[in-house]
Symmetry: D2
Subunit: 403 residues, 4 copies
């Protein structure tokens, strides 16, 4: 195992870290105070700066306008971007666009790439991904209510989705829909279909009130309805019935990206924790950091973050060498493990701040509420634990179980 990062990547990461700390954090302050919309001009200015630096959309090939970084090199960068809640957005590697780009890059037709991928990489438009449905358990991905029936050269979509993140203001949505309800293999019934948001019958019902906030633009999660929405059959991505396989392919690296981002949050929270502990006085000359319980949080957080990072790096390294499907156990392990570390570190950082930690004076409270979802989205902890354990136990001779 070799996690060595080239000098070039190390320098790049240092540059980006400086940029995040000096230029992005002041705008993050604006987002926390006034909201994502009010900070729009400033955020666009930052994105312009990143374009000038040649670092915009770093994970996409240069031929499509990206930075061309390989997966493992992305890890340190993604962590540094994760320090700010708008870091990934400023560099145009934010979910769900980053995943949609991967999907189009690897499975889009030349026409689809030209029409949809290029403006996405350029940051001219945004997109969303319509998978989760309120009526069906996310832990059972083959149980879908949204359908796309073929009529001539078109698909006609009907369905109800939610937690369609960033639909507000997006140009298109990649929708998971059942195209082959009669397929014997339940994993071969759905397809991914690209639907423009201005198609007739596509309705963004509302931005959901998530943790008290409906948000806006990229920072929002919509409920959407598709009511007899017609799109050309050419909008299907990949083969008919390949929707689940493509979703899996997308989710693996996507989860690694989330883990890297969470580690960035952890590091920022750790900095905030330590700065507060070092400077806050309980009485004159007696810093909070002199208390042994706070010291235990510092040490435990340091160990847990570092161990989790190494596990994530190992996974990225394996994906680079062996591909996503050979590493799904690793991905499941880092998904729930890192999400757990994230919640514990945030909890300790807030507790160290006392009442201040509950306010939006730091991003800790934002992450406390909005990253509670880390243990749920892209597969709940329990789903990952169960599925990885079953595969492990099969290697010890347990028979494959159904259900």
């Amino acid at each position: 195992m070799d996690f060595t990062v080239s000098t070039a990547v190390r320098d790049l990461t240092a540059t980006v870290r400086r940029f995040v700390d000096e230029e992005v954090l002041p705008v993050e302050r604006l987002v926390l105070d006034k909201g994502f919309g009010a900070a729009g001009v400033e955020i666009e200015r930052l994105r312009g700066r990143v374009r000038e630096m040649g670092l915009f959309t770093p994970h996409m090939p240069k031929e499509w306008g990206g930075g061309g970084l390989p997966f493992l090199d992305l890890a340190p960068l993604s962590e540094v971007l994760g320090r700010s809640l708008i870091g990934h957005y400023v560099f145009n590697v934010q979910a769900p666009d980053a995943g949609n780009m991967e999907l189009l890059l690897h499975h889009g037709t030349p026409e689809q790439k030209e029409r949809w991928l290029r403006p996405l990489v350029h940051g001219d438009v945004r997109s969303c991904f319509g998978m989760t449905e309120p009526e069906f358990a996310g832990s059972n991905p083959v149980w879908l209510g949204t359908t796309a029936r073929r009529e001539g050269d078109e698909y006609v979509l009907d369905g109800h989705k939610w937690f369609t993140s960033a639909a507000d203001g997006a140009t298109f949505c990649i929708v998971m829909a059942v195209t082959n309800p009669g397929a014997a293999n339940p994993y071969a019934r759905a397809s991914q279909i690209l639907v423009p948001l201005d198609a007739a019958g596509f309705e963004v019902v509302q931005n959901l009130a998530v943790m008290g906030e409906r948000g806006e633009g990229w920072m929002s999660h919509a409920e959407i309805r598709l009511d007899d929405v017609r799109v050309p059959a050419a909008n299907r991505i990949g083969a008919e019935g390949s929707g689940f396989a493509l979703a899996q392919e997308r989710l693996g690296p996507g989860r690694v990206h989330h883990c890297m981002r969470w580690l960035g949050i952890c590091e920022r929270a750790f900095d905030l924790l330590c700065e507060r502990a070092a400077r806050r006085e309980l009485s004159p000359g007696k810093p909070l950091g002199g208390r042994q319980l706070v010291q235990a949080w510092v040490a435990e957080s340091r160990a847990e973050i570092d161990a989790a990072r190494l596990l994530v790096l190992r996974t990225a390294w394996r994906i680079d060498r062996e591909g996503a499907s050979a590493t799904r156990d690793d991905v499941s392990l880092i998904k729930f493990h890192t999400a757990g570390v994230l919640q514990r570190v945030l909890d300790r950082a807030i507790q160290t701040h006392g009442a201040l930690g509950l306010t939006d004076a730091t991003p800790l409270a934002f992450w406390w509420r909005h990253e509670r979802g880390a243990r749920i989205y892209d597969g709940a902890d329990e789903v990952h634990k169960t599925s990885v354990a079953k595969r492990i136990l099969e290697r010890y001779g347990m028979e494959r179980m159904k259900g």
Copy 2:
């Protein structure tokens, strides 16, 4: 130990529980959807209904317009009210007014009671309590920056407070201020002084952005400034220098009230968890509640809630018999212990709901973010653990420690 509740109280609790479930919860929905202000008319209607039922301000003596319930009888009532985030407000036993009433009742002069207590009990006005200061650690209650210097028949107050809950719209604030900076005993330097919000120099700077929400009216936490605010010396509550002692006296039962309320939240969260587990299907005919990890959460939550309740009841029972100062260890124990149970139960209930648990479709997400403070306000976990442990260890022969 006898926690038997009289038939009368049991009937009362059942009545109130029905009222909360049938009439308060629909208005709570409105609060979650539209905010506390928009729900104002509906909330006032509910308060009117409670007045008709003769249950308004149940913890105050009848002579002042209250319901006259003893402390231990309040426990089951408070728990039932805690099921809704506006339950206590609807019954006019909400913090910080409930504590201010206790303070005025026991330490106010007849004039103070007539002028300030009576309208509070009647629910005509609201009040707030100005203790916490951003510049000084809450864990060191004798380290205060706010001063009240005596000038003739007046006190002149200067200071900076925050987390002055419910200041928005309040009529008066009870302010903790240093009146005797030279007192040898650091616990005898401060006094509690009643300051009308319309006094010149009293400024509500802002409602703090707490967990993304500034809130409004009773549901808010203000930053306030006192700049040469003059009030009559007769506005002091209790003896000069008694501020800390009165605060302690207030906080003990106040913490018990919080614990009772948290248990109500726990029970509501437990209901939501079990209803979701029983009804949500993972696939046709396979309820979520058939999963063993969810079953473990049900069982662990049931045990933890019940054990915590008994510990709280024992404390209330002891306070009734032995008074607040003899039971401060018990109060510290239930404060951190119940807050911990609360956070775990909320966490499990959210996890059981999946993405839905992150939305405001249930009050779980509200409590997740706004009751993160339970482990901080009224004494952080660490402060309670340390102080109760020191007293225990002294009984085992450890010498009293300073600092």
Copy 3:
């Protein structure tokens, strides 16, 4: 709920506590240093002292030679006895004899009582209970390999048992065996049959090496084999096929007894923790108890022990009023909850003692290893959590599940 203990019981408990601390603990020292056998004479002397005090076998009716204490009164006594690892034995309320006495008292024939119960109550003989089998999961109590086929006036038993505690030196064993393999109801297939250890074909194969110790006499866990063992049909206790029902009846109160005993262990461990913390110096004048992590352990242990005790008392109180079958949820809750508290408290007490805690200079190390089983015996945590959760979820509308 009324947990009030009468003055008589309180006095009794104080007396017993003094006796345990002053007279039993020195002999416990001997057991830890030399073993149960070597301490035999001293232990018998103590049992004689208890007989003189009229407190021997306190839970049995006076007509059979016991002390006649009701169930709830037994709670404080059992906790005090639990402070020493030989406390229950010295008072002749030790498992498994205590449960066997209950079984014979309530379900034995007059002849069985006269012959087997009376000497047990008098402490003249010991007994054991043969339930667990190595080949079959304890979590599935209806899956048994031991059979008792009826031949004329006799049962002929064949089987293999282990963890038959205290078989070494016992006079008889109550054996759970399948008598009605064809019964439609799997819970009606087994019976409990009393088998003298000197019956032909009854073999105590070995005392199992449990946590490195085979033990001896009452402090041992045997593997036994029954090979064509013949006993009179009159040795069956209760109706044919009632074995499972009787086992359940026995296990409910038995688990409460274990919980009470564990709370006694917790209190002893808490005392040891606090004494060590108060007296051990890290450097001259700096007690270990001044460290905040140790203080947190003190406070958390105090809260957890007290909360668990109240939960156990509530269960005992309900059993006294409503019987064992109405309270099986409560029993499951206290079983896993108290066992968890026990392990955490022992862990903290050992950690506070450092290397000393690993030695047999205190009983902490003994309990650490031998009470690891508390989360396994009489139903593993997972079994209790699952079964209580299923019943709770059924009340929320979940359909009854099989398997």
Copy 4:
């Protein structure tokens, strides 16, 4: 970071793993059943086999008779040896001899090496290390009662030590003793002095009863007394007053060795857990591993073990590059972090085995009791957490604290 293991080391590890599983585990069975002494002949036979394989004492240079493996290469080997409780002993890299060899190798005089190191590397003799004292807290290493006063060409030692592991049968003991009580720097008061066990006045008082077992030979922990023990001044290792510095130097890599060994225990426990889960049936055709709680243990253990291993490997890699003193934070982090993982994994493996897990049919129960010390020996968790946190917080601007 590059954790790549050469093909040679990978092959070596595979060979050793096979040897451990096929040849060492049967002898481990003997140790568990009959004790270390009774298995002596068999163990010596295994050591002979290892000598033949040329793998005896792998961490020592070839010139002294060892295998000459660098530190990082030792990691995978040590983990594989850790699978058995006698693995390290069979390969002659067991504590405390391994550390004594390092000490002599790096700080011994040529005479000391020839006389004491060579037979140690050859496995002809054993040694012990006398540091911990019952009267003084191990967390304060500069507070020692044992003295060595210089008289001419001799040191005269007086003192009382315990947890002198493997003193039973050892040839010499390296004793930590105060030689310079007046040194201003408390860290410069002690020296390490080599004392033959047959020196007059050196008494092995007893093998301590640790977790119920006194053990014997290498598997024991002695209490020793030094009463006017005279040794040549040439027996001092390193400079006078360098005892603490040498102990630190020894303990750093020693802790890494422990961590590697613990990971081997974790892997063995994980195998046992999974094998039991895969094969044990709860009812016909229903494996224990189908239970979701067991699955959660599998997944959590896998993630925690892998993350901890990477953290340990990073530390070893850094020690190889930067030396021990630059990595003491890393060493503290892995010490408490890995010990915590170890205890959790053992706990889950035992719980999965039910009653069987409490017996000595697997080594789980042995490790449960004897590795409870992992969180205590070589620095308790709390000591490591506190010291690493202080250094981290100083980097955030907290002033250095005394005490």
